[in-house]
């Protein structure tokens, strides 16, 4: 079974979007580390069983790790919380509650990203757009969301290419410190913005040339339909959400 034939790929996009939505609400509603970790692990399991490669999952972690670490460090410093102090350096006070809180926020962020990755990595753009449309969003807005998501990867690739082009002109980042590396990223970002604007211009022309917005009664080549499996999975997601709510209220 490959990524494109897996059960996750075939699942109705509305069910996958429903999973992401319920998971994120669950992450917001609960404060318990065990539940947060369970949701984080669950998202990974779903992606792996759905044939999303470990490489893709690691790539997502690569993009997230810096923000996750910053939250874990800053949150206990900025919001120390109550309880006994573990360390104090000048005005900075670190408490156990603060550390747990920081870890909780970091897991929330990572788990939310992976919950969103479930529909986004396993749904072709046109199916996702159709799903959003069937959920009631106007086609234009659904299309803008779909395009933005699919071009996100392209813009990321442009950043890497431009950064490589700088190195191919003798910029040796391996010899530089973090600040110099960060400074080298500024012209890259400017070039990426320019490349993105060009891409957007070209895309606008391409869409109009193929009749975007021409007919009010737009049709669909391969429409989506909720199957029995989709309903079962949706019931499972709602049940899982209910368990999270109950577990959150359950006394420790």
């Amino acid at each position: 079974m490959t990524e494109h034939t897996s059960w996750l790929y075939r699942l109705d996009p509305r069910v996958k979007l429903g999973f992401a939505l319920f998971a994120i609400i669950g992450l917001i509603l609960t404060n318990r580390l065990a539940i947060l970790i369970t949701i984080l692990v669950l998202t990974h399991l779903i992606l792996l069983i759905g044939c999303i490669s470990l490489r893709q999952i690691l790539r997502l972690w690569q993009g997230l790790i810096l923000v996750v670490v910053i939250i874990m460090i800053l949150q206990p410093i900025l919001v120390p919380g109550t309880g006994p102090t573990l360390w104090q350096i000048g005005p900075i006070r670190i408490t156990q509650a603060g550390l747990i809180n920081g870890l909780g926020y970091a897991i929330r962020l990572a788990a939310s990203a992976f919950a969103l990755a479930v529909p986004l990595t396993s749904t072709p753009m046109h199916t996702l757009v159709r799903g959003l449309e069937k959920l009631g969003l106007p086609y234009t807005i659904s299309m803008v969301i779909g395009l933005a998501l699919s071009y996100f990867g392209m813009i990321g690739a442009a950043y890497i290419s431009i950064s490589e082009a700088q190195q191919a002109r003798g910029l040796d980042l391996s010899q530089r410190g973090a600040i110099k590396r960060a400074r080298a990223a500024i012209p890259t970002l400017i070039a990426v913005i320019i490349a993105s604007l060009r891409l957007a211009d070209s895309l606008a022309l391409g869409l109009a040339a193929r009749g975007f917005g021409m007919s009010q009664s737009r049709t669909s080549y391969r429409d989506i339909h909720m199957t029995g499996v989709d309903w079962l999975v949706l019931i499972g997601i709602v049940a899982g959400f209910a368990i999270v709510l109950v577990a959150n209220l359950w006394p420790l």
């Binding site: 290419s161 002109r169 009749g211 391969r222």
Partner: protein, 570 residues
């Protein structure tokens, strides 16, 4: 459906404060009858693309600029319609269709436009099948991602997407740009079918004579936004001096006739050139067919060595298969092959941008496995196929200075190398402009100038002449020749066999990730089957020799040297 363009003037705003507005079209008027095929040609920045977008009703509303004049498609003024409302009447194939392919599969790419028109799924199915056959893509799996197709297939898919909407007018902007000889032949065959089997009105903006001659009823020559000539292709090419001065690409058969001093005849096809050549005496039996005087130099050391390199972007799908290639110091090599053969992937290994799955790469005798890209850049200068990915500085001058500065050149050296590069590539007048506001061809020259300024002992250039007109190509090839004469190793990727035959001392042919031919141009082009299998074709002079059955003429690699050989027989 006819096209009527009336007094069209289009100006772009100044892109920098205090800059001048640019006139892209200057009182352009012409008429195309229903079912007619009109070709527009001209040098870079002559206004072809602006004209295509305006006739398609997309400019100026989706671009910047001001328009006066009128375009009628049938009886309707295109400016009176909202962008997108003409899609079922006017089909447009843009220069770089890959940037507009956002669907996951070939069939969805075609279906997307049909969905916009509200066509039923059953009708969509029929149209997808029909248009895929029309553009020769019926063999491609319908669920294949469009971006995994070769460049030529992507252009044909984009054409299928436009044709599926069943327009009455088809506008094509450089449909052969960036395609291999095979890709160009396929595109010409499709256009010929459309020309003869449908009633489509076709407006083609193209610089390649192969897509004009034998296909177009009429052609326009544009220079700086103005129409300077109009007539049938034969009438236009008959007056050689003005079109050569305008920078129009000439068919090699015309260059051949001109070199023969046969100005009274206008051979615009190879058959006509062969007829002209047949009037010259046949040689006494030639002992040396394909005996080019140009031979690769004998070399004492290797600049770069690829040793059994295998690489794939995905496991089990190798793009390069066990490649071993020795690039001698001071060699002048053309790397060629079909779209998707692996040329760019190979070039990226030569500068460490990709690392092989198996095998090793040595530059100046050193294994590059542990080296960073920045370290390798001190030995090899690399120009990307897409200049957009190589330009990131606020001015042209700073862009050129970026490499020399990183290499640690002194201030005086940097100033000198900038001046040299600006002069070499004709960029002095834009040295303080932001590169991003320049035209594509100017950005390409800036990207190349920034590599030239690094004065690297080895140059690897990925399709450096794509998108450049005759004069731009001349600047680039002059740079190569000078650098080569000064001892620089040059490897350039190209689909242009005339260019490869004219300049390269050695040609390496890549076919589906393997090197299938490697030698002097004469040695490589002698292997007709291998060349054809790789999606290439021999240059004009060799095809002419084959057509005439004149083996000694095959010693010539260019139209001029073929003419010289014939003249010497008289």
């Amino acid at each position: 459906m006819m096209i009527d363009v009336q007094e069209l003037t289009y100006t772009y705003p100044a892109f920098v404060p205090g800059g001048a507005r640019t006139t892209a079209l200057d009182r352009v008027s012409f008429h195309v009858d229903k079912g007619q095929y009109l070709a527009i040609t001209g040098p870079n920045n002559c206004g072809k693309t602006t004209l295509c977008l305006t006739v398609a009703g997309l400019a100026p509303r989706l671009t910047e600029g001001r328009l006066t004049g009128r375009v009628l498609i049938g009886e309707r003024d295109v400016q009176a319609e909202k962008p997108g409302m003409l899609a079922d009447r006017v089909g447009l194939l843009m220069q770089e269709p890959a940037g507009q392919m956002f669907n996951r599969s070939v069939e969805h790419e075609i279906a997307w436009g049909l969905e916009n028109l509200g066509i039923s799924p059953a009708e969509m199915e029929a149209r997808i099948k029909q248009t895929l056959a029309m553009v020769g893509l019926e063999h491609v799996p319908r669920d294949q991602p469009p971006l995994s197709l070769s460049g030529g297939e992507q252009k044909r898919l984009a054409l299928a997407s436009a044709l599926a909407l069943e327009p009455e007018v088809l506008i094509l902007d450089e449909p052969a740009g960036g395609l291999s000889p095979l890709g160009r032949r396929e595109m010409a065959a499709i256009l010929s079918r459309l020309r003869h089997e449908t009633g489509l009105t076709i407006l083609l903006a193209e610089s390649d004579p192969d897509l004009i001659i034998g296909l177009a009823d009429e052609m326009l020559v544009m220079v700086e936004g103005k129409i300077v000539q109009r007539g049938t292709p034969r009438e236009i090419y008959a007056e050689l001096d003005p079109i050569a001065a305008a920078g129009v690409v000439l068919p090699p058969s015309l260059i051949f006739a001109q070199a023969l001093d046969e100005s009274q005849v206008v051979p615009i096809t190879i058959d006509e050139a062969a007829e002209l050549a047949s009037k010259y005496p046949k040689p006494t039996p030639s002992p040396e067919p394909f005996g080019s005087s140009k031979q690769p130099p004998r070399l004492s050391e290797d600049a770069i060595v690829l040793d059994h390199v295998t690489f794939g972007y995905e496991p089990k799908r190798p793009i390069l298969r066990d490649i071993t290639l020795h690039i001698g110091a001071g060699e002048f090599i053309a790397l060629t092959g079909d779209n998707g053969a692996g040329k760019t992937t190979l070039a990226r290994h030569l500068v460490g941008l990709l690392r092989s799955d198996r095998g090793q790469v040595f530059i100046q005798g050193q294994n590059i496995a542990g080296m960073s890209i920045g370290q390798i850049a001190r030995m090899v200068g690399f120009a990307y196929q897409n200049p957009e990915l190589q330009i990131f500085n606020p001015t042209v001058r700073e862009e050129i200075a970026f490499g020399p500065h990183n290499l640690g050149m002194s201030t005086a050296e940097i100033e000198q190398t900038i001046e040299d590069a600006l002069t070499q590539f004709g960029l002095k007048h834009v040295q303080d402009s932001p590169p991003s506001v320049l035209s594509f061809s100017a950005r390409r020259l800036v990207a190349l100038a920034s590599i030239a300024a690094m004065r690297s002992p080895t140059l690897v250039l990925d399709e450096p002449t794509i998108g450049l007109d005759v004069s731009g190509q001349g600047l680039v090839m002059e740079w190569f020749t000078r650098a080569h004469d000064a001892g620089t190793t040059v490897l350039f990727i190209t689909h242009d066999m005339e260019l490869a035959a004219r300049y390269a001392e050695r040609i390496v042919v890549l076919d589906d990730g393997e090197i299938t031919a490697d030698g002097s141009p004469a040695e490589v082009f002698k292997q007709g089957d291998v060349v054809a299998h790789a999606g290439l074709e021999a240059p004009f002079a060799i095809r002419l020799a084959q057509r005439l059955g004149d083996a000694s003429l095959a010693a010539a690699l260019t139209p001029e040297s073929a003419a010289r050989l014939l003249r010497d027989r008289v």
